[in-house]
Symmetry: C2
Subunit: 233 residues, 2 copies
DNA sequence: GCCAATATGTCTGTATGCAGATTTTGCGTA
DNA sequence: TACGCAAAATCTGCATACAGACATATTGGC
């Protein structure tokens, strides 16, 4: 029964849950989840007709959802060719990472200055979850993204938050596809506590240095592109 | 003859100029020009039906163009209410400016390192035009934006360039509406030569200091939000 | 005369249909 | 068997149409 999907969609819309929403918003969620989870891989073509058929809706909401995903950098449009999942190669990783340094360092510093007990509790909670993580790699990636997004929001500058989202979400989608051992994943996640200490003001380390260390655990040579990243040692 | 507009559009599409394009792309150009020029003012509602009627096309391309403009930060969607030209108040100017500091400083440093004679010539040309400027305030704003965009592109990092565009273009649109005397405008434009010298490596000044000075000529208190901006004096 | 409730009109969100372009498929040929 | 070309299938871009939501105007009540 392929219209189960459609029923899910329509049910969600008909249900009196929260504010009234649109089909497009739901398709956005479905598609971004598909990309983040690796169901759609970088370079894949997202056929709007096919997706519309699978969801038993017309092409219009799918089209607009794809357009919105383009805004978030997850897909790219090639005129009259269709939408393709953004492909991130080594070069792009370097460019994004170098931009991440300046943006997230700023976010970290701002968040530290404006930190509230409530936000701090949220971050602690996420890090605790990370420590006890024993689920799927997808869950781990979701936790990772959630931590950083909370941090970005805590900066108090919505433009900074938006820029970080636009740049980093595709990178996270790319990272999710990396197959690393659970131990490596666990080790990387454990480093978030260092970030937490820094943003909580419990650490003397320079925010930028902390971030660089954090990023070096996942990527190589962030300094090639950035003017800020200079290996301290 | 209201269908003159339509003829313009269709002519542009039928003309064998360059690569084949879409209606949406043209509407994007028309609308962003309208916003940048102040024809549509911040807070204005962009009625997609009305725009479609004016251009004698269907609502679909207009709709998609507005969606794309949202990506560039020029308009914002309120669900079932329509699209509104992004409104920028004093608070937003501060937030954008503080983000601009970190982004454009990085762009300036990267551009300096990667500067080529060709790019340098482009920048010189724009600054010369600025010196000889005697046209409309709109022209001045266009030159200003062109200079900075050239600079951003010269950074060589497309993600950085994109982030700067997304954040700064709405601010430029907002600035365009500011009514300042021609002398003030001329004075502000003249400072671009300082930026040019910095990016050309002809100056000993710190890029960040140069940028801060540049920004102080237009805005107040960029340091309130940023961790980087510290008044040197 | 003023406020509220209803009625009317307009707009957004979505569905369906069509034309041109692109990709795929199938066939013929080297 | 491999390659090239052409026809078919499919897809995107756009137009038209309709239903529900929102905004404004009108009317009724106090």
């Amino acid at each position: 029964m392929e219209n189960l999907e459609q029923n899910n969609l329509v049910d969600a819309l008909l249900a009196p849950n929260g504010p009234p929403t649109t089909l497009r918003a739901h398709v956005v969620k479905i598609l971004s989840a598909g990309i983040l989870s690796g169901k759609y891989k970088p370079g894949d073509r997202l056929n709007e007709s096919q997706i519309a058929r699978e969801l038993n809706i017309s092409r219009i909401p799918v089209r607009e959802a794809l357009s919105q995903l383009q805004e978030q950098g997850l897909v790219q449009n090639r005129e009259r060719r269709g939408m393709f999942v953004t492909n991130i190669g080594p070069e792009e990783v370097l460019q994004i990472s170098s931009l991440r340094i300046v943006l997230e360092t700023e976010a970290l510093r701002l968040a530290q200055k404006r930190m509230t007990p409530h936000v701090l509790a949220s971050l602690e909670k996420i890090v605790d979850k990370m420590d006890n993580w024993n689920g799927t790699l997808l869950d781990a990636a979701a936790l990772d993204l959630e931590f950083h997004r909370t941090l970005w929001r805590a900066s108090g500058n919505p433009y900074l938050e938006r820029a970080l989202n636009a740049v980093m979400v595709p990178l996270f989608a790319h990272k999710t596809l990396e197959h690393v051992t659970r131990d490596v994943r666990r080790w990387r996640m454990s480093h978030h506590r260092v970030l937490l200490d820094a943003v909580a003001g419990r650490s003397r380390d320079d925010p930028q240095a902390v971030l660089l260390t954090h990023m070096r655990m996942a990527y190589t040579e962030p300094e090639r592109y950035s003017t800020l990243a200079r290996k301290p040692s």
